[in-house]
Symmetry: C2
Subunit: 332 residues, 2 copies
């Protein structure tokens, strides 16, 4: 079926090693030999079998790209950036969808069967145990969008969600709201927990302000809408920090449906600054998460770790900032 090394060698009248060497860079081959081999390879349409060579080199250039966020549009951008970034460095993403998966063991086994060189866990909702399971299996791993920590157990690249919570609280305070609330994503997600605690810790500095909390059961439009509809039944807060942009948009839709006005009756600030947030029909005030930097840095960290597997776990945390749009009343 496919052309092999051996056929090229025969055609060029040289040894198999010679052919192998012309296709591995850094190997010593004379110019004449290289010409002969390349000619034969050309004629036969040969290209080396990466899997076979991985057997002896121990490297596949395959990277597991593991996620469970397939309903948050920001992750389409994330996948775009990851696949392009990895490709550009000669790495191949093996995509693993962990929706509804609770046990890391299966994916660990599968990715080891395919001898991936490394794994990127790209998720803000997978528990840290997943990333650790890969590390324990001896696979280099980077957790992108994971929980920041001063002494991480695996490489983590992302944002400081606690600080984002504080930032949101400060934004609301600057705008003079006196009854504010946190509307979080799934309570089990570390990102929700951290945003919540940051928000509360900042609000603790303003004891006169009333603060309430509730949680949607997913980072999704429907969950946000449902939760906000529920909140609107009793007296809602003046402004909400929503755990995520999709959630915010769901909440917005509920508010608009109830004939209330944003930002006059209720203010919303989201988190992520996904592409859609700046669409004029949405125009969401939100906290920008620098996903491009996060992804690039993750890839860079992955590549370094491949070359130096015993590198100590590292946390790379990027700063966020408030993007002023139309869903919060202006600061005075």
């Amino acid at each position: 079926m496919a052309v092999t090394l051996k056929e090229v060698a025969e055609r060029a009248g040289v040894s198999r090693s010679a052919v192998s060497r012309t296709f591995t860079d850094g190997a010593s081959v004379s110019a004449k030999m290289r010409r002969k081999v390349e000619k034969a390879a050309q004629e036969l349409g040969y290209s080396p079998n990466a899997l076979a060579s991985s057997l002896t080199t121990g490297r596949t250039k395959l990277i597991g790209l593991v996620s469970n966020n397939f309903h948050n549009p920001i992750f389409l951008e994330v996948f775009d950036l990851f696949t392009r970034g990895l490709q550009d460095r000669g790495l191949r993403p093996l995509l693993v969808n962990l929706t509804d998966e609770v046990d890391p063991a299966n994916s660990v086994r599968m990715l080891r069967q395919y001898s991936v060189d490394g794994v990127v866990v790209a998720s803000s909702t997978l528990p840290p145990g997943f990333a650790k399971a890969f590390r324990d299996a001896g696979v280099p791993v980077v957790h992108s969008f994971g929980r920041s920590s001063a002494s991480p157990q695996v490489h983590v690249v992302g944002i400081d969600n606690v600080e984002c919570g504080r930032m949101a609280a400060r934004a609301l305070m600057e705008r003079g709201y006196s009854r504010v609330a946190f509307l979080g994503g799934p309570e089990a997600a570390t990102s929700t927990q951290d945003r919540h605690s940051g928000f509360m810790s900042e609000m603790a500095l303003h004891p006169r302000i009333s603060v309430t909390c509730s949680f949607a059961d997913a980072y999704s439009f429907d969950a946000g809408r449902r939760e906000m509809l529920r909140l609107l039944k009793s007296k809602p807060a003046e402004a909400y920090f929503c755990g995520d942009d999709v959630l915010s948009i769901g909440a917005l839709s509920a508010i608009l449906d109830s004939d209330l006005n944003v930002p006059d009756d209720i203010g919303i600030i989201g988190l992520n600054d996904m592409e859609m947030a700046r669409w004029e029909n949405i125009d969401l005030t939100t906290i920008h998460q620098p996903i491009q930097q996060i992804v690039n840095s993750s890839i860079e960290l992955m590549v370094s770790t491949l070359n130096e597997p015993d590198r100590n776990p590292e946390a790379r945390i990027f700063p966020c900032s408030v993007v002023e749009r139309g869903t919060l009343r202006p600061a005075p």
Copy 2:
């Protein structure tokens, strides 16, 4: 590093073949042998190396998932469905991002180096040449969301875009619009061409109705918005068939910005029915594309083709239907 067949064999005190056979189903092993081997494997934490075995079996279970649509939210759903569907059948998606790629040769070479068993081209904007290039390289291929045809050259699964164009035209006629327009995506995409030609052919039946056309340069929010802003400078049509939902939303944003009302001043009908289309703050009337069926059918076709590589190319076309929401005035 990783445990190998040989170590398991030694520990269990049996031959390597015996171990291999207990891990390939359909092979003949006695119950006693199986127990011994499984015990040893368990203790050592062995799991077979899929890549090594592919060398002799000729099957990797790797499927190239090739796309260039990383900015249309509907493709997040598509990737979700594909990855889960493939995983469920024991296949592994190797994701290839073809954004900005014009020459299929590179990806063909790369996917052959990784000995993928098959390739799914999931894109409505990649030219048919890409799918054909894989076929020519002897790799089973399914083009999802490709151009429908009575005698396809490769397997195609998708919708009849010409018919969708007609359907949109009929929807506008039923609602009594007298000046309508087509606002398409990139002119080079076969999907745009087909939707356009269907729309025009149906409109040819209504010679009294004025019809105009224009094209955005991508299936994206920005492109739709930009094009609609341009159209609004001179006298716009009463209703637009937009080539796609994201495009529609871009157009909507332009319209709302210009203090015009939808659907009273201008009507919009989209195509795809992506998740967002039903979000209350968008509420887009659109044509539903059954992506779940398309993806499942694509996977099913892929699997059949793997078992029977010489199968004739087949087109599987699924019907679409108008989803009535708020961006078109109601039919009388």
